[in-house]
């Protein structure tokens, strides 16, 4: 994986190098041209100087002045001054002599096996020629060009270094954040620090912090669930322990049988509680139930089938007062859990000879299921509290886990619905109301009917 730093530095350095090379090449070429121009100008100056001098015959060694260069003319130039007849009036003393040349201006001549740049000029009847070694000229131009390149050559590495430092410094908060995340224990869910972070990175860290907060909430709810469950298990486990302990205390056969029966009851209660805990954990899990439509009537019929014997044993009449052909978007097992827990509660609190009614009616795009019992009802202040898991109303004398309604609400909300309790107005008793959003089919059916 490439780092952001490398991604920034490599293109910048490449660009810097390219710009440096192009500008160096341009500077080199331009400086050389300028130097050549200057050297040519100097040759013209020499020629002008010679034109102004008088020479006597035979050719005498001229007293050459110093020109604008640091070099003696004789070192750098070969010159010749001839009269109209071609007679040499003046020439530098050197191995190579400039032959009589026709034409004027600059050209390159090969003299004595070496390339010279030659400038020819005419002054009156005299012909003046100034020559300079091409090699020497090139060396001068190159030296000038290299000197001109020096600033560029220094600038590029310095700029490269600056870029590296700046990028490193600007990415430092990111590196610090990364190491802060790396050193974090799995249990640390407090938000990452956001000071000093560039605005572009802030949203990412903010999102991570939001995720951490969600994880913390989920963790906390799980921790609470486990603590609640452990606490709730203490009572039935204590009972089991004591029920087993008192088995030893009696030799009487009938008494022992009674105590074993109590132990069985304790085991049954513990098993039921653990099952309720599992159901509740499932209802509160984030997993979406598998999509599918289930007919409410069929689910109610199924629940009646399951709870019919219990109702009969308690001499309570189980009755469906309103039916709905509607379907809800739910896993049949989830709806079964809701109905089962509601019926279980209603049967638990309805006295013998009473009646539990269930109804299902289409309501605002979904289905409203109501289970009414003939129990004592609840004070208004308790109606919401009893949905808390493990909560038991103060005067509740029945044996229960305190989880039934928490399970109902958990499933209802998972299916996108609601659950609440209201007291009956016609008599004592409670009505448990669950609203569930309708399945796609029932919505279509509604449109077709409408």
């Amino acid at each position: 994986m490439t780092t952001l730093r490398r991604r920034l530095i490599v293109p910048l350095w490449v660009a810097l190098l390219l710009v440096g090379l192009v500008s160096a090449a341009f500077t080199y070429w331009q400086t050389r041209e300028e130097t050549n121009g200057t050297l040519d100008y100097q040759m013209e100056q020499v020629a002008t100087f010679l034109a102004a001098r008088t020479f006597s015959i035979p050719a005498q060694r001229a007293e050459m002045p110093r020109l604008h260069t640091d070099h003696d003319i004789e070192e750098d130039y070969i010159v010749s001054v001839r009269d109209a007849s071609g007679q040499v009036l003046y020439a530098t003393a050197s191995d190579v002599q400039i032959p009589p040349l026709s034409g004027l201006g600059f050209r390159v001549e090969r003299l004595g096996g070496v390339d010279f740049r030659v400038f020819s000029a005419k002054s009156g009847t005299r012909r003046i020629a100034v020559a300079q070694q091409v090699k020497l000229r090139r060396e001068t131009a190159a030296a000038a060009a290299v000197a001109a390149l020096l600033p560029v050559g220094l600038l590029i590495p310095v700029l490269g270094l600056v870029i590296g430092v700046v990028i490193r410094r600007q990415l430092q908060p990111l590196a610090e954040t990364a190491s802060a995340v790396a050193m974090r224990p799995a249990t640390a869910l407090d938000p990452l620090p956001v000071n000093d972070l560039p605005a572009e990175v802030r949203p990412l860290i903010d999102e991570i912090n939001r995720l951490l907060a969600r994880v913390a909430v989920a963790n906390e709810s799980e921790r609470r669930f486990i603590a609640d469950a452990a606490h709730a298990l203490r009572t039935p486990l204590s009972a089991l322990q004591l029920q087993a302990d008192v088995l030893d205390g009696s030799q009487d056969v009938a008494e022992r049988a009674a105590r074993i029966q109590e132990l069985r009851g304790g085991i049954h209660r513990t098993v039921q509680l653990s099952q309720h805990l599992l159901t509740l954990a499932r209802s509160e899990s984030a997993r979406r139930s598998s999509p599918g439509s289930v007919a409410v009537d069929a689910a109610i019929a199924e629940a009646f089938h399951v709870y019919g014997p219990l109702a009969a044993a308690r001499n309570v009449e189980l009755l469906q007062t309103a039916t709905s052909a509607a379907e809800v978007n739910a896993d049949p097992r989830d709806l079964g859990q809701i109905l089962g827990n509601l019926l279980d509660n209603a049967l638990r609190y309805t006295p013998a000879g009473g009646r539990v009614t269930i109804s299902a009616t289409a309501d605002s795009g979904g289905v409203r299921i109501e289970v009414a019992d003939e129990g004592p009802g609840l004070p208004e202040s308790e109606l919401e509290k009893v949905f808390q898991r493990f909560y038991r109303a103060p005067d509740d004398a029945t044996v229960g886990s305190g989880l039934g309604l928490a399970v109902v609400r958990g499933y209802a909300e998972r299916l996108g619905g609601r659950a609440q309790l209201v007291n009956r107005t016609d008599r004592s008793g409670l009505i448990a109301q669950v609203w569930l959003p309708g399945g796609d089919d029932s919505l279509h059916g509604k449109v077709a009917q409408g």
Partner: protein, 222 residues
Amino acid sequence: MRILLIEDDRMIGASLQRGLSDDGYAVDWVQDGVAAAAALRDTQAGYALALLDWGLPKRDGLAVLKELRKSDSALPVLMITARDELEDRVTGLDGGADDYLVKPFELAELKARIRSLLRRRERRAEFALSHGDLTLDLIAHSVKLRETTVSLSAREFALLYALLERPRAVLSRRQLEEQIYSWSDAVESNAVEFIIHGVRKKLGASLIENVRGVGWRIGSKP
């Protein structure tokens, strides 16, 4: 020995009542805070100890305990609760509990703690009561007469314990019944005589004296 059991869970309460009755305690069982407070206000009930659950319907166990201590009662109270945090234990003990037991617990431990509290109440160093050649071992619930172990029923033991606890006192039928039977026991009119008859048969007739018209007391040393 009469114990007040305050516990709202039916299964736990039933087992505790059975288990303690097996050892000859008379156990009265109430299931909510209001009934507990009422039972504790009854100073005639003669409770030797109270087992108090913290989480109770109607009234919190701790509130019941504080009210008991406010009324200047020194009744030993053993709290039994599912709350196991350090602060809970501290709150419970500071609230007036003499001991604290966290659910789930074993019956044997509860019984040992009850004995320990009772011994402390009676300022005794040992878990035994002696009368001449007769020794009541309160832990093993056994009775020894001249090195011979005599087997007594739980009620016989409870009656003997009640008499030996206050050697010079004459206990009425009602006082003895209270030490032997809980509210839930159906007591027949001659039950005390029946138990005394059993004890005399096993340990000698002179051990328990009848004070006509008043009750019974422990007799001359056997």
